[in-house]
Symmetry: C2
Subunit: 226 residues, 2 copies
Amino acid sequence: MKRIYDEKLLNNYIEMFRIYNYLDGDIYEDMNLFKYEKGEVIYKENDKINYFYFLVKGRLKIYTLQENGKKLLLRFNKPLAILGDLEYLNNYTIKTNVESLDSSLLIGIDINVLREKTKDNIKFYRFIIKNLSHKLYTISNSSSINLLYPVKNRFASYLVSVLDGTKKEIMTSNYIELANLLGTSYRQLNRVINDLTKKGIIIKENKEIKIIDYNKLKTLSKGLYK
Amino acid sequence: MKRIYDEKLLNNYIEMFRIYNYLDGDIYEDMNLFKYEKGEVIYKENDKINYFYFLVKGRLKIYTLQENGKKLLLRFNKPLAILGDLEYLNNYTIKTNVESLDSSLLIGIDINVLREKTKDNIKFYRFIIKNLSHKLYTISNSSSINLLYPVKNRFASYLVSVLDGTKKEIMTSNYIELANLLGTSYRQLNRVINDLTKKGIIIKENKEIKIIDYNKLKTLSKGLYK
DNA sequence: TATTTTAAAGGACAAATGTCATGTTTTTTA
DNA sequence: TAAAAAACATGACATTTGTCCTTTAAAATA
């Protein structure tokens, strides 16, 4: 982690994501731009929270570690995401690990300063509520899906949800990670991929998964993840 | 559902749960007391939301229905719980079913009136944020637990979490429902109960599960659910 | 380039879980 | 109280998933 002393860049991002819509006044002087490199950890489970962040560039991986050593990827974040909303009013310790997937830029504000300076800022509160609601909405959904459907359906859902209509192939950075994301083992993911390949629904090519039969995939996905 | 015209009772509950800590002024005239009987549905998935509720008496069951007909109990609610916080600022349709477990009393406020009258009420916003944070915190936790641990551990966790230190037996209203709550089948829950019984950890007696060896149960639960 | 490391693929077997069926017990209700 | 319905219990078998291991392919590095 490295602090970036670049007032102009900071202001660019404030402008780009219209952060002035949620925050105002003298809070800007407390904003610091931080750069996290690939693999660097931003939040660590069970730590006390020091900074509230806006992710303005790069991608983050959010996951939990379990006592049995297993790791569960909860989601990815891309700009504009916020970190620390859960801990903003309640004094929880951090409960998920956040790691930078590539070189990321975050605007950080000391959480106590933020609490103090926004304690009457209804715009910011509204922003926080919308963010929390969205996260809750998303996780409620994926949580029940994960529990009730076998990996085959969850994987199909995942594929459908990362496709954007036009694109018909998916870069998989790493199958082990993908297996974690789906809460399963690499072995099982492999079986499922083979199964879908045999059935002519997908094809694996280099590091890509190509969709052959989108309709069948859609059927398998049962409209999950939406 | 029946509206209860009892100003005094309503005021009792407002007093009992200190609702004046979160709301104030002329919103009280918009509060209605509703009574829901056992089995009655308060929120139905995909419906538009009309009322925001405070649960002041009784217990509620929160669950989702999946396309394959399976049902997943997300949690139980007891007073003081709130319904509609997720939909308060975002215009989502309702995404979980809420059903009364016994005869329940709820204070309901027309959601649009509430939105209008609390749009500058930072106390209420703070209350909502705390509630959303708590729900998110809880569900993140249980969600990863459900995915990563077998039913045996989840069931042990469940038992530990519903015990309150002194009590050593648990009323199970219904094993099918309990199986749903844990996201498994009745058959599998039964196997697990038999297994724990054989190992001398619990005993099933009438409609109760008695804890024999709390320490072993605690070990099995791995401190999950907290 | 040669060597080492990491990722990928899949066989073999065991554990966890689900579905279905059938019999028993308990509860509800006519 | 007798009949019907609901809850409970469990065997048999199939499916899903995990663990462990070996081989091969690809990528990173000395």
